[in-house]
């Protein structure tokens, strides 16, 4: 053996050995010294899971603190899929069959296919519980918990759901809560569990980045006890004075969470929603829970105080429903059917824009929404034959305002300078011939061609002389160089017509205020739909009495009359007075010692209308005469159910082709007594007849007990029938028979 050779070769092997060790050291340093951060994050996301817990939403109260929407606990049977996944398929199926069978026997019809579908539902995160049956009886909970060993992976949870102590009352306004959909989730920056990136990065970002979480418990148990998990879901903390972290409220949504879908629930989601809680748990390689690293209980949401007086709301809804039900099936003088498919009442405080009542008919039972609206129910709600009960007609319905529009035309007459001192008179023979008109349709008439003789501004409003306003509109159109093209529309716009009032409720319709320009644009967009794109005298004339293409919502109507009533300040309609944080949910909600004020909602002024006092007085007198003068269009209805003080207002009867007239009335009171106006009201019922015969009588019947302070308390649904019988008896006794026909 050649020793030199051996020596060289030994050295070679030594070099190889050194190289290999160097390679290991370099790699070790790369992992532990350079690339550590990335791997540490991976280590955390490996073992730390953050379980999201929704808390109970805040309550919705009326202006006096009566609870309109409450949160109550619902018992939910859910699947914990972790242990189920570890079972063999036949064993798991046996559990499902047994569960379906047991629930059936306990009076909770549950399909096996539903359980299997939910088990496979990928929209839920792996550690999340998947609901099988909602709102079950406590006996089901006891039964299942006593036999927990027979139902592995079946969890009984307690969840907060909505309850509605007043049943259908104010349902449109309150809105409802439903499961967040994917669009809403993405809008709020939430992660869809399906997306690859979301599932891997989400736990990392929320998990604590501190190293070495302290674990003291040497014995670790898997989450097999249902008691543990159900108690975890129900512990909620009341917010303390330090304040809840509301920052995450609007962003920390997960699929399966609840979200306000309409009404106040939607508009005030940021206040009502509980700050979600989080359970940060550590799991081992098998997915068993080893330790709870941190527990942040959800914080109950804030309470919302509405401007609504539920007693007044109940009263208005009751009378509106009774009126509509009474009208249906009758026919008018022209033998048109009075279908009265819907109706609305809005009552507003003219001094601050607060909505005191907002009734929309037909209504619906919000309790059908608490566990999610079923497909059948949803289709029924949206069937046109159902009357569309989910629609809040008070702000989503638009109607030709008819003569109620004359308030705005009157303002236009003064603001334009065409009418100077308000004493200008017009002879009203019942018919007006359009100036410079050639052709057949040159004569426009009063309703029923009734002659009113010599009228001025005030009397024209009182008796609802169309001719007076026809002439005004005709003059405007003939003198566009002097008054511009749109003096009437400009005045109406000052009252808020043609634009949303800004009430913080979704779905508000802006209505429509047609102008020569908008007519032209509409014609150019769809020449097939219109005879002409030109605006003519006749269009101005139609607009002046709220016909033609003019459309307004009942809310706009009430708000515009409130604006006039308070002297010209147009408020944004408000539905919330304040937001409070409860201290103890078991104590009365309206005790100031029991809540902390978070914020108060201040009136928002949208605009002011300038009008000279003497001109204002002329219009005011005319509208007061509507109820107080013997010639007023609402005189008889006021006589039939007088309010404690006089009211001023305007009836409207809008013609709709081939249908019965829309009946409208907008008014305020007290009027003419020198006191500030306290209430403005609008009543709109389409396909129902004359404004003076349907809407106005209804308005006074609603206002009378309010003005006398004799409103009966609203009936909670728990004892509704007894309560309503008492209310009926009371109203008969006070001469306010609900079901009597029109008083004129």
């Amino acid at each position: 053996m050649d020793t030199d050779s051996t020596h060289v070769r030994l050295s070679a092997i030594g070099i190889v050995a050194v190289s290999l060790f160097l390679a290991l050291f370099m790699r070790l340093w790369f992992l532990q010294g350079i690339d550590r951060q990335a791997f540490e994050a991976a280590s955390v996301s490996n073992r730390v899971r953050v379980i999201h817990e929704e808390g109970p939403r805040g309550r919705i109260l009326d202006r006096n603190g009566k609870i309109l929407v409450d949160s109550e606990t619902s018992i939910v049977v859910s699947l914990d899929r972790e242990p189920l996944r570890k079972m063999e398929e036949p064993e798991r199926n046996a559990v499902f069959v047994s569960l379906a069978d047991t629930l059936q026997q306990l009076g909770v019809p549950t399909k096996l296919s539903l359980i299997e579908k939910r088990y496979a539902d990928l929209r839920y995160a792996p550690q999340e519980y998947v609901p099988i049956a909602d709102d079950v009886d406590p006996s089901v909970e006891i039964y299942l918990m006593e036999r927990a060993d027979r139902y592995p992976g079946i969890i009984v949870e307690r969840k907060a759901i909505r309850s509605y102590p007043y049943g259908n009352l104010a349902a449109h306004l309150l809105g409802y809560v439903g499961e967040i959909n994917e669009k809403e989730l993405v809008e709020r920056g939430g992660q869809l569990p399906g997306s690859e990136n979301g599932s891997t990065t989400a736990p990392t970002t929320t998990a604590p980045t501190t190293t070495a979480p302290t674990t003291t418990a040497p014995t670790t148990t898997a989450p097999t006890s249902t008691a543990d998990s159900s108690s975890g879901a129900t512990t909620t903390t009341l917010p303390n004075s330090a304040g809840a972290d509301s920052g995450t409220r609007l962003t920390d949504y997960r699929l399966g969470d609840s979200i306000g879908k309409g009404g106040v629930e939607r508009s005030y989601e940021a206040d009502l929603r509980a700050v979600p809680g989080e359970r940060t748990i550590e799991v081992n390689a098998k997915g068993d829970l080893v330790d709870v690293l941190s527990l942040k209980s959800p914080v109950v949401g804030d309470d919302i105080w509405l401007t609504i007086d539920i007693d007044l709301q109940a009263h208005a809804e009751r009378l509106l429903a009774a009126k509509i039900q009474d009208l249906r099936g009758r026919r008018d003088k022209d033998n048109n059917r009075l279908n009265a498919p819907q109706g609305s009442v809005v009552i507003e405080d003219p001094q601050n824009g607060q909505i005191l009542a907002m009734a929309s008919y037909p209504d619906y039972d919000p309790s059908v929404t608490v566990n999610g609206i079923s497909q059948e129910q949803w289709e029924a709600f949206n069937d046109p034959n159902s009357g569309l009960p989910l629609v809040n007609w008070a702000l989503q319905g638009t109607y030709a305002p008819g003569s109620t529009f004359k308030l705005y035309t009157a303002l236009a007459g003064y603001n334009s300078g065409y009418l100077r001192n308000g004493t200008e008179v017009v002879n009203d023979p019942g018919v007006y011939t359009i100036e410079n008109c050639k052709g057949e349709k040159c004569e426009v008439r009063n309703a029923g061609s009734t002659p009113h003789g010599t009228v001025n501004m005030a009397s024209a409003l009182t008796v609802s002389s169309d001719v007076y306003f026809y002439k005004l509109a005709d003059k405007f159109w003939n003198l566009t160089d002097q008054y511009g093209e749109t003096p009437i529309q400009d005045a109406a716009a000052q009252f808020g017509l043609g634009s949303k009032t800004g009430v913080p409720l979704s779905g508000e319709n802006p209505g429509r205020l047609p102008t020569p320009a908008s007519r032209k644009a509409a014609f150019e967009a769809r020449p097939d739909l219109f005879m002409t794109g030109d605006w003519r005298s006749g269009d101005n004339i139609n607009t002046s009495i709220g016909q033609g293409d003019v459309l307004a919502t009942p809310l706009q109507l009430a708000n515009s009359y409130a604006t006039f009533a308070n002297g010209g300040t147009r408020y944004q309609p408000q539905i919330v007075t304040k937001v409070t944080r409860p201290r103890d949910l078991t104590l009365p909600a309206n005790d100031p010692a029991n809540y902390k004020l978070i914020r108060e909602v201040q009136p928002v002024i949208q605009g002011t209308i300038q009008i000279q006092p003497d001109q204002y007085a002329k219009i005011y007198d005319g509208l007061l005469g509507v109820t107080q003068s013997a010639f007023g269009t609402a005189s008889a209805s006021w006589q039939a159910s007088k309010t404690a003080w006089p009211m001023a207002g305007k009836t409207g009867t809008a013609q709709v082709s081939k249908k019965a007239d829309s009946s409208l009335f907008a008014a305020w009171g007290p009027a003419g007594t020198g006191e500030p106006a306290r209430y403005a009201i609008s009543v709109v019922i389409p396909e129902s007849g004359f404004g003076g015969e349907v809407a106005a009588p209804l308005a006074f019947r609603i206002m009378a007990p309010l003005s006398f302070g004799t409103l009966l308390p609203a009936c909670p649904s728990a004892d509704q029938s007894a309560c309503e019988a008492a209310a009926d008896a009371a109203s008969v006794a006070s001469g306010n028979d609900v079901t009597s026909g029109s008083a004129d």
């Binding site: 053996m1 092997i13 550590r36 280590s43």
Partner: protein, 380 residues
């Protein structure tokens, strides 16, 4: 550097069986490094298994094996390796029979359907660990006793290597089969095989490896595990899991680690086989760069001392014996730590003296005993 041996043996002037004189030449550095690594290993096994059901039992058994291994190491070191080499044919023959026997119904089915164990009640024995040693002894004895390695002798040496390798492949235990290739290569290089022949062998070996990977001799999972490190995106999630979890655990340990018993991956059992093939992750996670680096330094010291023993050996038989053991250790360490760090394919190769497993610890100790014997008897 001076050349090794023959002269100095005569200088020493005496030969014999004086145990106390052999003791004077024990390699203390190697002995201390070995002891420290064994201790380190026990600590790691403790941390890796303490949450297992019966974890204490696993630790006690491992402790027992360490004691047995140390005793065996001292026992073997006291015997002159040349006396042991006299018996090489018998030792090799028995080892091969035992290795072959594991394929018979006597052997037990292990993980992934491989057959590599004998189970006698609670005692489990892995014959490949002894076969490696026997093969090193056989090749060293055979090549050490000849003057020149011609083609015929090379062929014989290759046969001695290929038999255990083939038997191991049949289990199939690919990692251990690779050990025979590396050990053989190291010994043939130092044993004086001509460079031409060696080059030819290397080329043949490379061709064979590719052939095996392409053929159906291996199951897909084995190929996946072997190629996962080179092509991280192209393998199944299952094959990646081991690698990812191991690197995650080691990397998150950082400079100083979480501390004993506090590493989350170890504590929660995220790394499969964390007490055996992936025990280096425990060191990495709980003791960080400092601790796992120290372990590597201890291993490097051991390798250096074995290499030194090879250099100082009295004869080429002793040199080859040490080189065989060194190659075996080096390959085990590099392959095992390398797969933990994600730079080597995943094979079932334990970390010497550290991984839980009796046969491996005892066999490693005996191997080190042989090295000590070469070192202690270099003047005898």
């Amino acid at each position: 550097m001076q050349s090794i041996g023959v002269d100095r043996r005569s200088i020493s002037g005496f030969r014999g069986r004086d145990v106390s004189s052999a003791w004077k030449h024990v390699d203390i550095v190697l002995l201390v490094a070995t002891g420290l690594v064994l201790l380190f290993g026990l600590v790691m096994v403790y941390s890796a298994t303490r949450r297992f059901p019966g974890g204490t039992g696993i630790l006690l058994r491992q402790g027992l094996f360490v004691v047995v291994g140390i005793a065996a190491m001292f026992g073997v070191s006291l015997i002159d390796y040349r006396r042991i080499a006299d018996w090489w044919q018998i030792i090799y023959g028995v080892a091969m029979l035992v290795l072959a026997g594991v394929l018979s119904p006597l052997g037990s089915l292990g993980a992934f359907g491989t057959k590599g164990w004998y189970a006698f009640g609670p005692v489990v024995f892995q014959p490949v660990e002894i076969a490696k040693l026997a093969t090193v002894l056989a090749v060293a004895s055979y090549l050490g006793s000849v003057d020149r390695v011609d083609l015929r002798r090379l062929g014989t040496a290759l046969v001695l290597l290929v038999i255990p390798m083939g038997l191991t492949m049949l289990q199939p235990d690919l990692g251990s089969a690779l050990v025979f290739i590396v050990v053989g290569l190291g010994m043939l290089v130092v044993g004086g095989v001509r460079l031409r022949h060696l080059s030819l062998l290397v080329i043949l070996g490379v061709v064979a490896v590719f052939g095996i990977l392409q053929s159906s001799a291996l199951d897909q999972y084995q190929k996946d595990r072997l190629t996962a490190f080179a092509n991280p995106d192209g393998v199944s999630a299952k094959a990646r899991y081991n690698i990812d979890q191991a690197q995650t655990a080691i990397s998150s340990g950082g400079l100083t680690g979480y501390g004993l018993g506090k590493g989350p991956s170890t504590r929660l059992g995220y790394v499969p086989a964390q007490q055996t093939d992936f025990i280096f992750t425990v060191a990495g996670e709980e003791f960080g760069f400092v601790g796992s680096g120290l372990l590597l330094i201890l291993f490097a010291i051991m390798i250096w001392r074995i290499w030194r023993a090879a250099q100082l050996a009295a004869d080429s038989m002793g040199t080859l014996l040490c080189i065989g053991v060194m190659s075996m250790f080096l390959f085990h360490i590099f392959e095992n730590v390398g797969m933990n760090l994600g730079i080597m394919p995943v094979t079932g190769i334990p970390l010497p003296l550290v991984s839980q497993g009796g046969s491996a610890v005892v066999a490693s100790c005996i191997a080190l005993g042989l090295v000590q014997s070469v070192h202690m008897h270099r003047y005898a």
